[in-house]
Amino acid sequence: MTAAPDHTPILQRPSIRVRMEPWLPVLLVPVLVLLGFVSIANPSSWLTLTVSGLAMGMMIFVIASGMTLVFGLMDVINFGHGAFISFGAFVGVSVLIALSALTGAPSLMLNLLALLAAVIAAMAVTGAIGWGFERVIVRPVYGAHLKQILVTMGGLIVAEQMIHVIWGPKEIFIARPEMLKGSITLFGATLEKYRLVAVGFGALVFIAMRLVLRRTKIGLIVRAGVENREMVQALGYRIRRVFVGVFIAGSALAGLGGIMWALYQELITAHMGNEIMILVFIVVIIGGLGSVEGAFIGALLVGLLQNYVAYLEPKAALISNIGLMVAILMWRPQGMSPVIKV
């Protein structure tokens, strides 16, 4: 540790390589889009795939953000996160079915109203379940990863079974609201309306989350807590309460992701959450545990890659994401943007 720079209050400008380092992962997204363009060689298909890849990525991000923050803040790994996705989807879809008069009407206002009701219901229910989950399942096993994984997995089993008990064992089909059906044509590419809405909505969630994390005191506490929990407490903040809040918010976001996914697939099953979680885990790992920005980039990469590869070689889609994970872990063993732990 040299003291020389302290006398002259000028930050030494690091070399361009050092300064670009944190931004390298961001560049991966356009690089992947470009690679997709070259290998697909059909601009209109490429545009269609890019939009659906982004839509998928946004939904995965909405789900993964809560999971990664919960880990970063309290070192809790929640394998039951998938249950919130499923519950969100089932609650949201039930609301949409109950409001079929609104969703079936050819009015964008009424459609969005129904959608809003479904989203609020899904988030409220999954948030409440998350609160209970934290109290009953997670709280007794702080600091013990092995037990956390086992117990949250047990919670997932019970939650999935409860969905069967409440909604029956069959999958449910759900039609999109009237005005979100169909597609528009842009530069000769067919773009489903709903996917565009999902991209916009996901981007909105990301921006809102960034604003909360950057501009509010709660956000500062969360970011600081991910880095150094002890110091946040020593400053006078009750980190447990903040954590419960983050857990609830994360569960509600998973529920939101669930209803978005339900309308994307137009089909829901009790184990859909667990299937999506595979991609979520990949995203959380390659993004760097605890990093919201990393999860965002990771989710876009996974969504885009999944769609490009599914077009080029359908059977390789999931494997390609495993390959992506391996490649990124070889490059950065802690993920793309690990939060520096003090």
């Binding site: 540790m1 040299t2 302290d6 005191k217 880095e227 002890e230 110091m231 020593a234 400053l235 006078g236």
Partner: protein, 241 residues
């Protein structure tokens, strides 16, 4: 002077299965600077962390202005008016200097007059206000850590070895800032290995060894008695002086 700001009575702390503090008795008088001295591993840092609530004492009482805070949660102790500058500084590297300071101001927005004062004593903070704290140099980080504790008035400041690994110029900046803080009537309990700095700042001194206070009294007494210093702290202290 009636009641000390902080009084430790028979405080024992274990870390995992190891007994670190074996009954610490210590008074920190109000409005004075008390220096906690002793060789490495004597339990100085553990004492500060125990007062802050980061380690829970197994036994004993920790009286802050007459109220026992032993065993309370660190957030509650902080709210009761204790600020800590930890040994590793505890800077949030991903947050900017500004964000670090905003977080430290628990009760609301930072008081502008107080901030001006902090900028005068720690000029680099103003220069790098919008920069990530992780980019600061070691000395600047120590300034930020100290400024963070000073951003609001507290009953008691716990400061753990601020001079560690820093160049003399930075140490004198820190010393000036702490003298300023003391002039505002603050009560400080500080761990320090650098005896020159300790002597310059301290009103009272307490020497620890093996998890106990082995000597306590006015700093002047200790500073004026080389034989006592020798006996309490051995030669190791001379190296720093």
């Amino acid at each position: 002077m009636s009641e000390p700001m902080l009084r430790l009575e028979g405080v024992r702390t274990d870390i995992a299965q190891y007994h670190i503090l074996h009954g610490v008795d210590l008074d920190v008088p109000q409005g004075q600077v008390t220096m906690l001295l002793g060789r490495n591993g004597a339990g100085k840092t553990t004492t500060l962390r125990t007062v802050m609530g980061l380690w829970k004492p197994r036994a004993g009482r920790i009286m802050l202005a007459g109220r026992n805070i032993a065993g309370q949660d660190p957030a509650a102790i902080a709210q009761a008016g204790v600020a800590l500058v930890p040994e590793n500084m505890g800077i949030f590297a991903n947050l900017t200097v500004e964000e670090n300071m905003i977080l430290a101001a628990v009760s609301g927005p930072i008081d502008p007059a107080r901030l001006d004062w902090l900028f005068t004593v720690f000029p680099p903070l103003k220069t790098f206000w919008k920069n990530p704290a992780g980019n600061l140099s070691g000395g600047q980080k120590q300034m930020l850590a100290t400024a963070r504790a000073m951003v609001e008035e507290r009953r008691l400041y716990l400061i753990d070895e601020p001079s560690k690994g820093l160049a003399p110029a930075i140490v004198s900046t820190l010393a000036r800032a702490l003298r300023d803080l003391k002039a505002k009537g603050a009560t400080i309990l500080m761990v320090e290995q650098n005896f020159k700095l300790a002597r310059a700042l301290g009103d009272q001194a307490a020497v620890m060894d093996d998890g106990r206070i082995v000597w306590a009294g006015p700093m002047a007494t200790l500073a004026g008695d080389a034989g006592l210093q020798e006996r309490l702290m051995g030669l190791s202290m001379e190296g720093h002086a």
